[in-house]
């Protein structure tokens, strides 16, 4: 099948695009997607770069919670286009823990971001896979991060 340009696809109706995905291109799962997403997926299928895939990953500077999550999703290198799955990392502090999309972020950034969620102490040391790391350590897929929580002092 001949490839399409974005302009050609934008002139088609949503119904035409979705039928093309389902019957001609063997691309199931786009019946509920928006027109832009379907066009991006078709262009991706023909090996053309889309706006989404050109997005760069910012690695420094202050972030909002939304930016933080969005960038972490984009850092998953082998995620198929349109996939909503993300690479998450198990992060814990004391009894609190969870899986968070923080691949590509530094331990220091994660500490700031999850400080209130996991009750991370400002001076808490980070352990990645059990080993102490600096706050500049960049988290990779498969890592497990723990922020050390001080021991309880009382008991008598």
């Amino acid at each position: 099948m001949a490839s399409f340009t974005r302009e050609q696809l934008e002139r088609m109706t949503v119904r035409e695009l979705k039928e093309m995905c389902a019957y001609d291109l063997n691309m199931p799962g786009y019946s509920k997607k928006t027109k832009d997403v379907v066009i991006d997926a078709i262009l991706e299928k023909f090996g053309k770069k889309t706006e989404s895939s050109k997005a760069s990953v910012k690695t420094s500077g202050p972030m909002t919670g939304m930016e933080f999550q969005a960038q972490s999703i984009l850092t998953k290198p082998d995620a198929p286009f349109g996939s909503k799955t993300t690479t998450t990392i198990h992060v814990s502090c004391g009894a609190s823990s969870g899986n968070f999309p923080v691949v590509g972020r530094t331990v220091g950034q994660v500490a700031d971001f999850l400080r209130e969620v996991l009750n991370v102490d400002k001076l808490s040391t980070g352990l990645v896979n059990g080993q102490e790391v600096s706050s500049n350590y960049v988290l990779k897929s498969g890592d497990s991060l723990e922020f050390l929580k001080p021991a309880g002092r009382k008991g008598c």
């Binding site: 009894a95 723990e146 021991a151 309880g152 002092r153 008598c156």
Partner: protein
């Protein structure tokens, strides 16, 4: 029959709950023989009623020894009305002991951890809590080798304690203890019992530290790697 020498250091909110449960378990375990030494320099007072289990006012260690000996005659109890210090620790902790650390300051934990690092065989269960959360550390040393990290290894607040021993505190400081929640003490004592059951009875060292938080109703057990000396 296996023989154990147990030392319980601190008989306050955690220790007084722990020893009752531990003694009941040991007394009715027919294949276990036990000597239990109770250490605490404190006295039981009216202010302790809300969290601690004693039958009368007086030396916590001595009262608890009498109470437990009557209830659990298969076990052999001893007591000393003392606080652990660097000077006296060698009188109470010996090779092969199982130690329950239920104190209320990190300075005591550091003294105990450092002393035990020089023994060949020892098992230490150390518990502590804040108002609504707490943790238990498990330090196991066999044939002169650490099987789990000592109490200070992952806890700079224990390695460099900012608090005082009870023997260094004034009467006013001792009287002004911070409030504690009975349920949190109970949580620490319960997890120390779980740790004892796994390490001593089942002989499985699955974890080296367990945290819990009453407000989130969660707990998490950690496996810590040994640090190179």
């Amino acid at each position: 029959m296996s023989e154990h020498q147990i030392v319980v250091i601190g008989l306050g909110g955690v220790g007084s709950i722990l020893i009752e449960r531990l003694a009941r378990f040991l007394n009715y375990s027919r294949d276990i023989s036990c000597k239990i030494l109770l250490l605490d320099g404190d006295t039981y007072e009216l202010k302790n009623y809300s969290r601690q289990e004693f039958s009368e006012i007086g030396s916590k260690a001595e009262i608890k020894e009498v109470e437990l000996q009557m209830k659990y005659p298969r076990l052999r109890f001893m007591s000393e009305n003392v606080y652990i210090t660097e000077a006296n620790i060698g009188n109470y902790i010996k090779e092969g002991n199982i130690i329950f650390v239920c104190v209320d300051n990190h300075k005591s934990r550091k003294i105990i951890s450092n002393y035990c690092k020089n023994l060949k065989n020892v098992t230490v269960f150390s518990g502590g809590n804040e108002f609504e959360d707490g943790n238990v550390q498990i330090y196991v040393r066999r044939d002169g080798v650490d099987l789990t990290p000592d109490l200070c290894a992952y806890h700079p607040e224990i390695q460099n304690p900012e608090d005082k021993l009870p023997t260094e505190m004034t009467c006013e400081e001792l009287a002004n203890s911070e409030p504690q929640l009975y349920f949190t003490n109970l949580g620490v004592a319960t997890i120390m019992c779980w740790a004892f059951y796994n390490v001593i009875i089942r002989q499985k060292i699955l974890r080296s530290e367990i945290y819990f938080d009453i407000t989130t109703m969660t707990s998490d057990a950690k496996t810590r790697v040994l640090k190179k000396e």
